[in-house]
Symmetry: C2
DNA sequence: ATGAAAGCGCTAACAA
DNA sequence: TTGTTAGCGCTTTCAT
């Protein structure tokens, strides 16, 4: 057993059969005499033979590998989606290659390498917020979007029902009696931010609360941007009684700022976020939020993608998942923890 | 330009040269007449030809892909290491395939698929805490460990200098006048927890503070376990004046528990962690911690691995990085934020 | 400087 | 049921 690994032919030679028979055995074909099979299997074991995945991909014209591109890996939301996708892919004997691309340039380079060079059979793109992103993906190549729908092209997608989630979050604040509700959004070039803003607007309207542009501040999903948002309200001397932050990290920034300027939560200010990160319940006070099932999103996306690859279902589909209100003390003293 | 993609031969035909010449062009060989090269490049552009990575791997016997296995992707520490590794790999034109394996069984299956089936040229293993993990990796296969050193085998590794980091963290508490310092550890089967415990012990010893086993509680890195740890001290009626939690999440759990039972931080209780997660500075109070440079760890690991793969440096190396004390208000009212 | 031939390790026809 | 013959798309000798 020298340096190089045994091949199909080595096994065949040892078992005294043709290499094709060995191929049949490792691929579980029925058309092999039990005795022959046993022989071959013995030879395989003896040599410690393992089929070479690359050669297989080569011959089959498929890599049995999927790729998942996200803006980064450290964002808990993305990581959870990827974990869900990975689990599902593995269940179907596919590999998932996860890579991150922060800017459009890196994104294109990645797509080129992954898709152009045929390294993968399909692609999941998380948060494809800028439309020009997918124009570089060849048509007909299996792609699924996560976290946004496609506008121009007919690409399947799975995401949170952002409008509904925001509506429900805002409803929660309204149901607690709030009328002066500020909004901290994600970057406005992301659909998700727009949709969540829409849901906020609808809830206000429905409750007969006038919509006020100046109560909306655009953040960038970071805790810092949430903190800055509240501080800017403080500076302007018009602190709202409630804040809906479009994600938990920004909500945590709001909580932090409130603490710093001595605004009591939830009595003077109620705060709600979206996500339910593991640390959200450890914050001071524990954060009320709309919990989304991120692994599930990854799982759905992977299923869709495999359906497309395996031609089971090529229709464009758009799955929207809902989120669940988790009440904690940032909105109500009576909230659980 | 139908379904299937143009190959080397298609380009060759169009350019009126042999496929070999095309190969030379795409591989940047010098031995091609400028004119020929221009011809070929024109043909490549015209057909939209991209070399097939799989076929290349096949012919070269190398995949130009690395794998990184971690217990999960959602842990911020792991994700950061992976991001660092990915960036570095990409700089060297390698791909990084990141996968997670929670239990040993999944780990072995992954190694089998990745290494046994020759999908990758090298492997980075994050937190290989149980020794039997790497016994299933074939000898001589390029591997680098992150977060732990190898005991039995001579495998290169890069990790935090855990003993030193813990020593410094404990020193910080001691320098603030604390003598009753509790320790919340990670799982004791992980080297990292043992080493950090050792550093804690050394700092106490050096300061002439008696070491007391009952002040050590084993956690599992989760915030919950940190919370439970402090609560159990409270129940026993022997609350320490300071806690060194071996990571930030557990430290946050300790802070949360302190809040719940009305122990004032830092006046009644000082708390220090390790990592410096993005949210650590947003906690109440902001958490003092030993900041580690995780992307750097991933970067170092990748460099080592590539050195091994490219035979530049096959020696076993063990890199230990240090961490930086970041003082915030969980240990000192005077701390920055 | 360019081309022809062989082969990487496998699968997919087809034949026997 | 098994074996034979061709490739998959590329790189690597070795000629020319």
């Amino acid at each position: 057993m020298p340096n190089s690994h045994p091949t199909l032919r080595d096994v065949a030679r040892l078992a005294g059969v043709s290499h094709q028979t060995v191929s049949r055995v490792i691929n579980g074909s029925e058309d092999v005499l039990p005795e022959t099979r046993a022989n071959v299997e013995a030879a395989i074991k003896q040599l410690g033979y393992r089929p070479n995945a690359i050669a297989r991909s080569m011959a089959r014209g498929q890599t049995h590998t999927l790729a998942c591109i996200s803006p980064n890996l450290t964002d808990y939301t993305f990581a959870s989606v990827i974990e869900g996708a990975e689990t599902e892919a593995r269940q179907h004997d596919y590999f998932l290659l996860s890579s991150s691309a922060t800017d459009p340039k890196a994104f294109h380079a990645l797509v080129d390498e992954l898709v152009g060079h045929r390294r993968v059979d399909g692609l999941i793109v998380i948060n494809p917020y800028s439309d020009d992103r997918f124009q570089h993906i060849p048509e007909k190549f299996p792609v699924v979007f996560v976290g946004a729908q496609s506008h121009e092209q007919k690409i399947s997608s799975v995401c949170l029902d952002d409008e509904k989630v925001a509506y429900e979050a805002t409803r929660h604040l309204i149901s607690l009696g709030h009328k002066d509700i500020a909004l901290v959004t994600g970057p406005m070039e992301e659909d998700c931010s727009l949709d969540r803003t829409e849901g906020y607007r609808r809830a206000l309207q429905e409750a007969g609360i006038p919509f006020d542009d100046s109560k909306i501040i655009e953040g960038d999903w970071s805790a810092t941007s949430g903190q800055d948002a509240l501080l800017s309200f403080v500076e302007q001397g018009r602190v709202p009684t409630a804040v809906f932050a479009q994600n938990d990290r920004m909500a945590m920034g709001v909580l932090r700022a409130a603490r710093d300027v001595n605004i009591k939560v939830p009595t003077q200010l109620a705060v709600i976020g979206v996500d339910d990160m593991p640390l959200s319940s450890y914050f001071d006070p524990p954060l009320t939020t709309m919990r989304q099932d991120m692994p599930r999103i990854g799982q759905e996306a992977t299923r869709m993608l495999l359906d497309i690859i395996q031609k089971k279902n090529t229709d464009q589909r758009e799955v929207k998942l809902s989120a669940q209100l988790v009440v904690r003390q940032s909105t109500s003293d009576k909230g659980g923890d």
